[in-house]
């Protein structure tokens, strides 16, 4: 088992980091909260640089980027809390299509070229992602909630039950697709509910667990980045801020909280890299792949929320202000934590499988 980044992945990480440092400092996320078009300039850079090509092509094709590559880039975008739909389009929507065979190849190419897609995988009333739609007589129908990135998307990828078993389906946003946008936790990453009664562009049979594994992994990578950045900000503050005549980071109350954050972060990062490697390995069974990705997502959400909450605590009153960046990390973390299954629901699902001997 090989877990970790090779030298070309480390180089990829560094180059993505460098671009984001100049193009997308954390303040951009704050601007995007009030300016609904702010994301477009960053997105153009990202598309021009070819990061959206991480979407595909479909499994097994030559030149397909590995999921470790995908995780590396999404982690950096998470760390930058970049207000762009890279996770929702390339990680979540394309993540499903990666395992849907050659029928969806064209759509993957489109997403790879920068067209924005969103994944509708939350059936109303469920904590875990699943199959929110039905496909009958060539028509796709159903409702999904909290679709990440939908207000910016042109395409919707979803999962549907059909008489021939589950399928991945793609529809264009337009006629027969009602998008309900509301205020959300992280306005830099808007979400929407959707109601569909439309003819899909394409459908392809999928295994639901395999289909959801890459999206879970992608969400994990994003949250690992958020955790890392939030912790780094707290550490910086704990070194600089003086009380009782010394830096607050010298007190074990702060020091140990941040050390625990570090453990949570590296725990999540290890699970994420390991899950990526597992999903890249064709010998991995769908159940094992889903389990690895679900645990990574659960751990990453815990790390991100934990680091951001500790960050607010460490920053004191400052952390409660609009002008300080910590709420940006916290909003992103909370929203990501609730997407594709909250940590407890995912742990529960894995625990039940393992206790029942089905994993």
């Amino acid at each position: 088992m090989d877990v970790g980044l090779n030298s070309s992945q480390l180089a990829l990480r560094d180059s993505v980091r460098d671009v984001l440092r100049t193009e997308c400092p954390p303040g951009v996320a704050r601007q995007a909260m009030t300016d609904p078009e702010r994301w477009r300039t960053v997105w153009k850079t990202v598309v021009d640089l070819g990061w959206t090509e991480l979407a595909g092509p479909a499994e097994g094709d030559e030149g397909s980027f590995s999921r470790v590559d995908l995780a590396v880039v999404l982690e950096e975008c998470g760390a930058a809390i970049a207000p762009i739909p890279l996770l929702s389009s390339v990680g979540l929507a394309a993540g499903v299509l990666r395992v849907a065979g050659s029928a969806v190849g064209e759509v993957l190419d489109t997403i790879g070229g920068g067209v924005v897609a969103a994944l509708a995988a939350h059936p109303p009333g469920c904590r875990l992602p699943g199959v929110p739609m039905t496909l009958q007589g060539g028509r796709l129908r159903g409702r999904a909630i909290a679709v990440a990135g939908l207000p910016r998307a042109d395409l919707i990828v979803t999962l549907a039950a059909s008489s021939d078993g589950p399928v991945a389906a793609v529809v264009r946003v337009g006629d027969g697709v009602a998008v309900h946008t509301a205020e959300c936790t992280d306005p830099a990453q808007p979400v929407a509910d959707v109601e569909i009664d439309a003819e899909p562009v394409v459908t392809a049979p999928v295994d639901v667990e395999s289909a959801l594994a890459t999206p879970l992994l992608a969400a994990a990578a994003d949250l690992v980045g958020v955790a890392d950045a939030a912790l780094a900000r707290s550490v910086e503050h704990a070194k600089a801020r003086q009380q009782f005549g010394k830096p607050i980071g010298a007190f074990q109350g702060i020091k140990h909280a941040l050390a625990d954050n570090y453990v949570a972060l590296e725990r999540a990062r290890s699970l994420t890299y390991a899950a990526a490697a597992r999903l890249d390995d064709p010998a991995t069974s769908p159940a094992a792949g889903w389990t690895a990705a679900a645990l990574a997502k659960a751990a990453a959400a815990e790390a991100a929320v934990g680091c951001a909450r500790t960050g607010v605590q460490v920053h004191g009153a400052l952390g409660q202000t609009w002008e300080h960046d910590m709420h940006l990390y916290l909003r992103h973390a909370w929203q990501g934590a609730a997407t594709l299954g909250d940590s407890r629901a995912l742990y529960h699902a894995v625990g039940r499988r393992v206790a029942g001997g089905t994993a």
């Binding site: 550490v235 007190f251 074990q252 702060i254 140990h256 050390a259 725990r267 390991a274 742990y347 894995v350």
Partner: protein, 374 residues
């Protein structure tokens, strides 16, 4: 890769041949079987599985780090018998190999590795626990010997050991980290009194108090440089720390099995929160293993591996949570489950030995995150 699989398969076959046929059925008894555990150490030494990265004459087969880790994990997953005096091969042997003179290696290493001579770690003192560098035991040079006076405590298995790596102050004027030396003490020397301390659990890793009343230690028994004891200790413990997570990981696996077995025994409860905690612990267990691999991967590539510093803290905390969950899942039957009692008690030691969790957090905060010392 084929190399790895081949080596692991060879080890697995060897282990199967070594273990009694009913080993897994009667694991609860065999785990206390000292003869079996001694026999296992000797056989592992002879077959080259004891310290796989070391050369043949030192109980290994010169395996690379990656292969060695696979062998250790296989051994862990198969619940291979626990070495009866883990301090010897786990902590002292790497120190002797790294710092010992040719004579010391010749005289001491093989009996240690075969398990014929046990070792104790003479580190903690009544006034020096986590603050190990403040130890007070004194060693004063007198011709060819050091004269040692002082008191060690929590010295595991000293009453069954022949030797002790004794840390003593040899330069009282130097800063506290720089005035300590490591002496190889023959516990049969005149002036040594060993008092076992009754343990709260049925553990066979009994603590002792070791009283040193004008004990003579030949100068030739100095391990490492004079006043270089701190490096000897840190380097030896570091070696142990890399092994501890695998030991924790095995015990975590056993605990998880126990949760799974217990979970089916109740019909009045839907077990939702047990499943949730179980899932979280499965993540911990997998994170330990994946972090172990990540750190190995970085080490092999010649890169720093800071993530390795979470292994001890995460492994020990997870172990405790696993057994607490096993107790919850067992319900009132946990009350008369004496094996479970031992597991829970034993797990509590994991956040203390080899550097407490508090010290681990200080290390992470100060060395990795760069926070100031308190």
């Amino acid at each position: 890769m084929t190399g790895t699989n081949g080596v692991v398969a060879e080890f697995a076959t060897w282990l199967t041949e070594f273990l009694p046929d009913d080993y897994y059925d009667r694991y609860r008894e065999y785990r206390w079987d000292l003869d079996l555990r001694r026999g296992y150490q000797r056989a592992a030494f002879e077959a080259g599985w004891l310290q796989p990265t070391w050369p043949r004459e030192h109980g290994g087969r010169s395996l690379g780090l990656a292969d060695a880790m696979e062998v250790r994990l296989e051994s862990a997953m198969r619940s291979a018998p626990k070495l009866p005096n883990i301090a010897g091969p786990g902590v002292v042997a790497p120190g002797i190999r790294q710092f010992g003179t040719a004579e010391q290696i010749d005289r001491l290493l093989i009996p240690l590795l075969r398990g014929d001579e046990w070792w104790a770690l003479g580190m903690s003192e009544p006034e020096a626990g986590s603050d190990f560098a403040s130890l007070r035991t004194r060693a004063v040079r007198d011709g060819d010997v050091f004269r040692v006076k002082g008191r060690k405590i929590w010295t595991t298995q000293a009453h069954l050991s022949r030797w002790c790596t004794l840390y003593a102050r040899t330069d009282p004027d130097a800063p506290k980290h720089r005035g300590i030396s490591c002496l190889i003490l023959d516990l049969e020397s005149p002036g040594v009194t060993i008092e076992p301390i009754r343990m709260a659990s049925i553990s066979d890793e009994t603590f002792c108090e070791v009283i040193l009343d004008d004990v003579e230690v030949p100068v030739s028994n100095l391990l490492g440089p004079l006043n270089g004891g701190w490096q000897v200790a840190m380097s030896s413990l570091n070696h142990e720390r890399q092994m501890i997570w695998i030991m924790n990981w095995v015990e975590i696996q056993r605990g998880l099995d126990s949760v799974r077995a217990a979970e089916t025994a109740h019909d009045d409860y839907t077990s939702g929160e047990v499943f949730t905690e179980l899932g979280s612990l499965l993540a911990d267990a997998e994170a330990l293993r994946a972090t172990g691999y990540r750190s190995l991967h970085n080490e092999l590539a010649g890169r720093p591996s800071p993530e390795a510093d979470i292994l001890k803290l995460l492994g020990s905390l997870t172990l405790q949570r696993v057994w607490e969950l096993a107790a919850a899942a067992t319900g009132p039957r946990s009350i008369d489950d004496i094996d479970l009692l031992f597991e829970r008690q034993d797990a509590l030691a994991a956040t203390i030995y080899g550097g407490t969790s508090e010290i681990q957090r200080n290390i992470i905060a100060e060395r990795l995150l760069g926070l100031p010392k308190g």
